[in-house]
């Protein structure tokens, strides 16, 4: 499967650096601002993950929960998420977009309708946090038919056999969860150990683009730069919260932060 996600990884590789992936929540802190934030980020990020907020998340830590609740409180609905992406994709700032969220939202929207709308709005990939392999096989193949990457997640607890099966069924991107944690936890494993596990994944199939996420901040990002891609999420959400608390403009603050992140992996 070659889509713009693969292309983004390829061009980062050509520059000899990992792809930078960001995560923000659609509608955080407003619909308008979250679009502006995407645009500000896009100068430095290679792929943008965009969360569609759910009010009962079982894998998100405090920072992303705060962003999600803020977005829901502001009335963010799935149709708003699609509109934000549509605006972003039709702008000159456009980057590959991966939507991320929980399966119940997709189920209630209707799986086919959801994928049709993803396709229509040029969404490139999907991460569904609570739809693990093999439960995700059917849905993942539906995604593939629409040329949408279904991103498989792998964690330090994933067994060897499972690892092989998941990689076999994966599309062009795999997400390695760096440690046992919800999103935004403090990095409690050494980068060396994380990269060791990362290498295990790559040794099974080196063609799959593998990104590392969870616990990555300005401090730790450079130590992991041998990976295909690195995801920063909670640190960005925290920056939005902090700037709101200090009555600063979250758009500029987040833009500056992602610029710094990018500089650390060049």
């Amino acid at each position: 499967m070659i889509n713009s996600i693969s292309k983004a990884f390829n061009s980062a590789k050509k520059e000899g650096r990992p792809a930078l992936l960001t995560y923000t929540v659609a509608g955080d802190n407003t619909k308008k601002n979250s679009l502006k934030i995407l645009k500000a980020i896009s100068k430095y990020a290679d792929i943008c993950e965009l969360g569609f907020p759910h009010n009962t998340p079982i894998a998100d830590g405090g920072q992303i929960q705060t962003s999600s609740y803020r977005a829901i409180k502001n009335g963010t609905k799935i149709k708003d998420v699609f509109e934000i992406v549509k605006d972003f994709k039709s702008s000159k700032f456009s980057k590959p977009i991966i939507l991320m969220g929980y399966f119940n939202m997709i189920l209630q929207y209707g799986q086919n309708k959801f994928l049709n709308d993803c396709k229509k709005n040029k969404i490139d990939g999907l991460i569904v946090v609570d739809l693990p392999w093999p439960e995700n096989k059917k849905f993942a193949s539906k995604c593939k038919k629409k040329s949408i990457s279904f991103v498989q997640l792998i964690s330090p607890t994933t067994s060897k056999n499972r690892l092989i099966s998941i990689i076999k069924d994966s599309h062009n991107m795999i997400y390695y969860i760096s440690m046992l944690s919800t999103t935004g936890g403090k990095l409690k494993v050494s980068p060396k150990k994380i990269l060791l596990n990362y290498e295990k994944i790559k040794s099974i199939n080196s063609n799959k683009n593998c990104v590392i996420g969870f616990g990555i901040t300005e401090k730790s990002i450079s130590s992991l730069k041998s990976a295909d891609g690195l995801v920063v999420g909670s640190a960005i959400c925290r920056e939005i919260t902090n700037s709101l608390n200090k009555r600063q403009n979250p758009v500029t603050k987040v833009g500056n932060m992602v610029k710094k992140l990018k500089n650390k992996i060049l």
Binding site: I58, Y69, N104, T158, R162
Partner: protein, 410 residues
């Protein structure tokens, strides 16, 4: 969708963990796949192991206190004037509620797996209290997640949890009740599953937790069946079993041994929390036709909006104040084996008043919901009908609410 006979309902799920092809399952983050699989292997190995079963039975008998009483409520029967009303006084159990069965089994399993810490959620505080008791008994460290609103309204249980040496983690997100406590507990487990065992406090959550809890609380109906046979010589021609349903652990346990009887002979009536009669909010997804959705790792009927956001519930009883319901009950509803209805806050308070006036038991607000429906239906039933209500919790924990609402002192 059909219920099979001669095979435990707990085992009537498919390979993905779905009952009736659509309730339950394992909607969990990848990180939890392994600890869940480990727990499945351990439980499947032990659930038919004679040594483990006798160990369980020994704790149930000597520590939990089995069997709990099965008594006729003669004064209430006379007052109501219809069917004979009996009660299974499960609140006799050590700690004062049915939650002790699940807590004990989870601690036994945690010990076998070599884990030294156990975490759990709680609404009314009973699941937390019992887990803290069992953890203390088995020498495990214990962490209890509880909504800030529930901490406020269920102080007696909060104190008990603390005095058992467990740590209480207040949960301030969302509605600050059980639903948020379960989410926070699961998140904690995601981050600590290598050292910590998790006990889900009811027949909810990923498939294996539904099974372990249902398997544990089935002790209630095992006892009841023997007691009924002792009392009547056979299973009565018209037997009706009333139980409140929040997550659904006590009701499932109260019914399980009678599953294969025709419902014309042994009927199951589940009573959900209808909330305040002045409010549209409720905690009765089965009664009010909520749609199927995913909550805490399982597909179930759940109160949600059209977008799939879980809706806030409202009930005077913290133990029933949950937007979803066990996949087992969804299955029993759709196969029509059980009938579900709701009682309001006001109904439950009224039932508490009547029961405690005529009898020497004081059901907590949760079983008071079941008593409310049992009393109003018993009136219209023949005298040879046997109505049994599971009094699965004691009202001591509700004394603050009862004092305020009814002016009674416990």
């Amino acid at each position: 969708m059909k219920l099979k006979k001669k095979i435990s309902v707990l085992d009537q799920h498919d390979k993905f963990g779905f009952w009736g092809g659509k309730f339950g399952g394992n909607f969990v983050p990848e990180t939890l796949k392994k600890p869940i699989n480990d727990l499945e292997l351990l439980f499947n190995k032990l659930k038919n192991n004679k040594k483990f079963l006798s160990e369980r039975d020994r704790y149930f008998k000597n520590w939990v206190g089995a069997p709990t009483r099965f008594i006729k409520l003669s004064n209430l029967t006379e007052h109501v004037g219809g069917a004979e009303i009996w009660s299974k006084v499960v609140s006799d159990a050590n700690g004062g509620a049915h939650k002790i069965y699940n807590a004990t089994v989870h601690c036994l399993l945690a010990k076998k797996s070599g884990k030294r810490i156990i975490c759990g959620d709680t609404g009314a505080g009973y699941a937390g209290k019992m887990l803290s008791m069992a953890a203390k008994k088995f020498g495990l460290k214990c962490k209890i997640f509880m909504g800030a609103k529930d901490i406020e309204r269920q102080q007696p249980n909060v104190k008990a949890i603390k005095s058992n040496g467990a740590e209480i983690v207040p949960v301030y997100s969302g509605s600050q009740t059980l639903v948020d406590a379960v989410s926070e507990c699961m998140r904690f487990w995601v981050a600590n599953c290598d050292t910590t065992a998790m006990c889900v406090g009811s027949t909810v959550g990923p498939n294996i937790f539904v099974k372990i809890c249902g398997w544990s609380t089935s002790q209630i109906s095992r006892e009841l069946k023997i007691q009924i046979l002792d009392e009547f010589g056979n299973i009565p021609k018209r037997l009706k079993l009333y139980n409140c349903v929040g997550g659904g652990s006590s009701s499932f346990g109260f019914w399980n041994e009678f599953m294969d009887y025709d419902k014309k002979q042994v009927e199951f009536i589940g009573v959900e929390a209808g909330g305040s009669s002045k409010s549209k909010k409720h905690a009765a997804p089965l009664t009010y036709g909520s749609k199927i959705g995913i909550l805490h790792g399982a597909a179930q009927y759940v109160n949600q909006n059209s977008e799939g956001q879980i809706e806030e519930t409202e009930s005077i009883s913290a133990g029933l104040d949950y937007p979803g319901v066990s996949p087992l009950h969804c299955f029993l509803k759709d196969t029509k084996r059980a009938r579900y209805t709701a009682a309001s806050d006001e109904d439950a308070l009224k039932a508490f008043k009547i029961v405690s006036k005529y009898e020497a038991i004081r059901p907590s607000l949760e079983p008071s919901h079941a008593f409310s429906v049992a009393i109003s239906e018993a009136k219209k039933l023949s005298k040879d009908t046997i109505v049994v209500v599971n009094s699965c919790g004691d009202a001591y924990k509700d004394r603050k609410i009862l004092e305020k609402k009814l002016g009674v002192r416990l």
